[in-house]
C-alpha cells in the first residue's frame, strides 16, 4: 500500500514551478538557441493562461468539439469482481480522437494561434499525439508538421493515413532507430530553424520548462472533473486515484487537482518495460532533470513496452518531484498484466481500454481488492483500445480462454 502522504510535503506544492523547477526537477536543459524561445513562451503563456477569452474559447471547444466533460462511470461489475473499494472510471476514452491527447493538443494549438504561429511541429511515436495535433491544427487553421520515425510509421500506418487525411504533413525520419526519439530530434531541428513562425507542440508533460506546466494546465481538466463529479455524486473525495504514466501527461492531469488533498492517495502506474520512476535514476533528458533509464555512463537506455505511448525512457519532472516527496506512489505493471487488466475491463464492462490505460486498470483493480467497500478508487481510462486490438486478441488466442 502507498505510504500516506507526509503532511509536511503538501506545503511544498505551488501551482507554478519555481524558476522552472518542481523541487529539483525540471528546468531547461536545452541548447542556448532555444532559450529565448522558451523564455518568450513562458512569458506569453503566463499571461495568456489567465485570460478569460482564451479560457472561454478553450472551454467551448473542449465541450463542443472534444466531448467534455467526460463521464465518471461507476464500474459496477469491475467493483463486484474486485470485491473491495468501489471503482470509478474517468472516461477519457470517449474524447474526440480516442484519448486524453486532444486535451493537450487543442490547448497548445490554441496557444500557438494566440502566438500567431502558422505552423505547428510535433514528434510522435505511435501517432496518437500526432493525430490529436493534426485534429487541433485543422480546427484552428494551422499547418501541422508531424515528425515520426520511419519504423513507427510502418507500425502505425493507419494512424498516419488519418493524419494525412487531416492535411498534416508527415515527415518520415529515417535516421537512427527510426523511432520517437529520432523524430523528436528531427522536430527540434526543424523548430530551431523556424523559431519565428513555428510552434513546437510537446505531447506530454516532459521537455523543458514551461512545457510541463503547459501540459499539466491543459490536462488538469481530468482531475478537476473527477473531483467535481465525485463530490456531486458521493459528496466526498476518492481514497485513491490511479493513472498510467508514460511521459506522465494524463497522470499529472489526474493527480494535480488532488495534490493538496492530503488524504487522497495517488498511484502512478508505469510499464515495467519502461519504468523510469521505479527503476530509473536522476538524469537530464530532453530538456529536463527527472528520473531516467540510463546506464552507468549516462547513456539513455532503450525501452520495450508493448504500450507504444508508455515506451519512453524518462518521465515528466513533476512526477519525479511527487515521487521524491512521497506525495504519489509509483509502481510498475508488466505488459502481460496490462493485457489481463484490459481484457478484464472488456469482459466485465464492455470497454476495451488502450493498452496504456490497461496498466492503470490492472493496478487499480489490485488495489481496490485490498480496500474497504466504503472506499473509492478512481482510475483514469485515458484511451480506447482499438489501436491495441491485435495485441489483446493475439494474446487471448494464445492463452485460450480469457481471464
Amino acid at each position: 500500500m502507498a505510504s500516506a502522504t507526509k503532511p509536511s510535503s503538501v506545503a511544498k506544492f505551488t501551482e507554478l514551478p519555481k524558476e522552472g523547477k518542481f523541487g529539483e526537477f525540471g528546468g531547461q536543459f536545452v541548447p542556448e538557441i532555444l532559450m529565448p524561445a522558451l523564455r518568450a513562451l513562458e512569458n506569453d503563456y503566463l499571461s495568456i493562461r489567465t485570460q478569460a477569452r482564451f479560457q472561454n474559447e478553450l472551454k467551448a471547444l473542449r465541450t463542443d468539439y472534444c466531448g467534455r466533460p467526460t463521464p465518471l462511470y461507476f464500474a459496477r461489475r469491475l467493483t463486484e469482481y474486485a470485491g473491495g473499494a468501489r471503482i470509478f472510471l474517468k472516461r477519457e476514452d470517449l474524447l474526440h480522437g480516442g484519448s486524453h491527447s486532444i486535451n493537450n493538443a487543442l490547448g497548445q494549438a490554441l496557444l500557438a494561434r494566440e502566438l500567431r504561429r502558422s505552423r505547428v511541429l510535433c514528434a510522435t511515436g505511435s501517432g496518437e499525439h500526432g493525430l490529436a495535433t493534426a485534429m487541433a491544427c485543422v480546427l484552428l487553421e494551422l499547418q501541422a508538421e508531424i515528425y515520426m520515425g520511419a519504423a513507427d510509421i510502418e507500425r502505425h500506418a493507419t494512424t498516419v493515413e488519418q493524419m494525412k487525411l487531416l492535411g498534416a504533413r508527415v515527415h518520415a525520419v529515417t535516421r537512427g532507430s527510426q523511432r520517437l526519439k529520432d523524430a523528436t530530434h528531427e522536430a527540434l531541428r526543424a523548430w530551431v530553424t523556424h523559431l519565428q513562425d513555428a510552434y513546437y507542440l510537446i505531447g506530454s508533460s516532459v521537455g523543458p520548462h514551461p512545457y510541463p506546466l503547459i501540459v499539466r494546465d491543459f490536462q488538469r481538466v481530468i482531475g478537476d472533473e473527477i473531483k467535481g463529479q465525485l463530490l456531486r455524486r458521493e459528496q466526498r473525495l476518492p481514497d485513491l486515484v490511479v493513472a498510467a504514466v508514460g511521459q506522465g501527461g494524463s497522470a499529472i492531469g489526474t493527480f494535480f487537482p488532488f495534490v493538496q488533498d492530503e488524504k487522497v492517495r495517488l498511484l502512478g502506474v508505469e510499464a515495467a518495460e519502461a519504468a523510469s520512476l521505479t527503476q530509473g535514476t536522476v538524469g537530464v533528458f530532453h530538456g529536463a532533470k527527472t528520473y531516467l533509464l540510463q546506464d552507468e555512463h549516462g547513456q539513455v537506455q532503450p525501452t520495450h513496452s508493448l504500450a507504444a505511448e508508455l515506451d519512453y525512457a524518462a518521465v515528466g519532472p513533476e512526477h519525479a518531484f511527487y515521487k521524491k516527496l512521497g506525495r504519489a506512489e509509483y509502481i510498475a505493471v508488466s505488459g502481460r498484466e496490462a493485457l489481463e487488466g484490459g481484457r478484464l475491463l472488456a469482459e466485465l464492462e464492455g470497454i476495451l481500454p488502450s493498452l496504456e490505460a490497461a496498466h492503470a486498470i490492472y493496478a487499480g483493480v489490485q488495489r481496490a481488492k485490498k480496500l474497504k467497500r466504503d472506499q473509492i478508487v478512481v482510475i483514469t481510462l485515458s484511451g480506447r483500445g482499438e489501436k491495441d486490438l491485435r495485441l489483446y486478441y493475439d494474446r487471448q488466442q494464445l492463452s485460450g480462454q480469457a481471464v
Partner: protein
C-alpha cells in the same frame, strides 16, 4: 579566475601572429578510438589551433545529423567519457594543443560534476562545452570548472539578445562560442546571412579577456575569411570534419583539408581586440 594555460597561451600567440584560431572538432570514438587518435594528430598536424573532442551521447538534441550519427557510431563501439579522457591523455604525451571536450550534460551529471571536472583537469583538458547546459542551469558547473581550471565555453546565437550575451559572458571563460546561423549544426557551403551582423553586434559586448569563436556550418576558406574579417578571434569547424571522417577520408587528406582552412585564418582581422 584560472584559465587553462594551453588555451590562453594559444590565443595570445595567435594574437601576436595576427591569426584567428582554428578550432577543429572530432567525435571521439568515430569510427573507433585508435583512428580518433590518428585523426586528432592529423588535425593538429594540419595546423589546427585547438582540438575539440565530442563525448558520444545517445540523445543529443538540436544536434546536426552528422554529429548525431557519429555519436551513435561511437556508442556502438562502447566509447564513453573515460575512453575520451584516455585519448586526451594519449595525445598529451606528445602534444600541447589546447583540448576541449564537448559533452551533453547527462553523462557529466551521471558521473558527478565535480568528478568530471577533476578527471578533465587530471587529463589536462583545457575546457568544456556542454551544449544543453544554458547559464540558468550552469551555476554549480561553473564553480567546479573554476575550481579545476577548465575553460567554460558557452554559446550565443542570433536569438540571444544583448543583455543575455553579457550574462553569458559572465559565465564564460576562454571564448564565447557564437553560433552563426539558425538551425542545428551542419556544414553549409554558404555562410548564413546572419553571421556577419551577428559578429558585429556581439563583438562589442565581450569583455576583453574573452575571445570570440564563430561556428556552425563552417567548411570553406571564404566562410572563414569573412568571419575573421568581421572580427572573430577564431572559427570552429565540426560537421565538415566529422562528415569527411564518416566518408572514410585518410588522415593525410584530413590534414591537408585542415591546412587549407587554417590558411584562411591568416587573413588580417580589421579590428583586433
Amino acid at each position: 579566475m584560472i584559465v587553462s594555460n594551453y588555451l590562453a597561451k594559444r590565443f595570445e600567440e595567435l594574437q601576436r601572429r595576427q591569426e584567428a584560431a582554428l578550432v577543429a572538432f572530432l567525435m571521439a570514438g568515430d569510427p573507433d578510438l585508435p583512428r580518433t587518435l590518428e585523426y586528432a594528430r592529423a588535425v593538429e598536424g594540419g595546423g589546427a589551433d585547438v582540438l575539440g573532442l565530442g563525448v558520444p551521447f545517445s540523445d543529443p538534441i538540436a544536434e546536426s545529423p552528422t554529429l548525431e550519427e557519429a555519436a551513435h557510431r561511437a556508442l556502438r563501439h562502447g566509447v564513453h567519457l573515460q575512453d575520451v579522457l584516455q585519448i586526451v591523455r594519449e595525445l598529451r604525451k606528445s602534444s600541447t594543443i589546447p583540448i576541449l571536450l564537448l559533452s551533453y550534460y547527462n553523462p557529466i551529471l551521471r558521473l558527478g560534476e565535480e568528478a568530471f571536472a577533476r578527471r578533465c583537469s587530471e587529463a589536462n583538458v583545457d575546457g568544456v562545452l556542454i551544449p544543453d547546459l544554458p547559464i540558468e542551469e550552469a551555476t554549480s558547473w561553473v564553480n567546479q570548472a573554476r575550481k579545476y581550471g577548465l575553460a567554460r565555453i558557452f554559446s550565443a546565437t542570433p536569438e540571444t539578445g544583448d543583455e543575455r550575451v553579457k550574462q553569458i559572458c559572465e559565465f564564460s571563460s576562454g571564448f564565447l562560442y557564437l553560433v552563426s546561423r539558425y538551425g542545428a549544426t551542419g556544414a553549409r557551403e554558404a555562410l548564413a546571412e546572419t553571421a556577419l551582423p551577428l559578429i558585429e553586434r556581439v563583438r562589442p559586448l565581450l569583455p576583453s579577456d574573452l575571445k570570440l569563436v564563430v561556428g556552425f556550418g563552417i567548411s570553406t576558406r571564404p566562410q572563414i575569411e569573412s568571419v575573421v574579417r568581421a572580427g572573430a578571434d577564431g572559427v570552429m569547424v565540426t560537421s565538415a570534419l566529422v562528415a569527411r571522417i564518416a566518408e572514410g577520408i585518410s588522415p593525410e587528406a584530413l590534414s591537408a583539408y585542415v591546412r587549407e582552412l587554417k590558411e584562411a585564418t591568416r587573413c588580417p582581422s580589421p579590428a583586433p581586440s
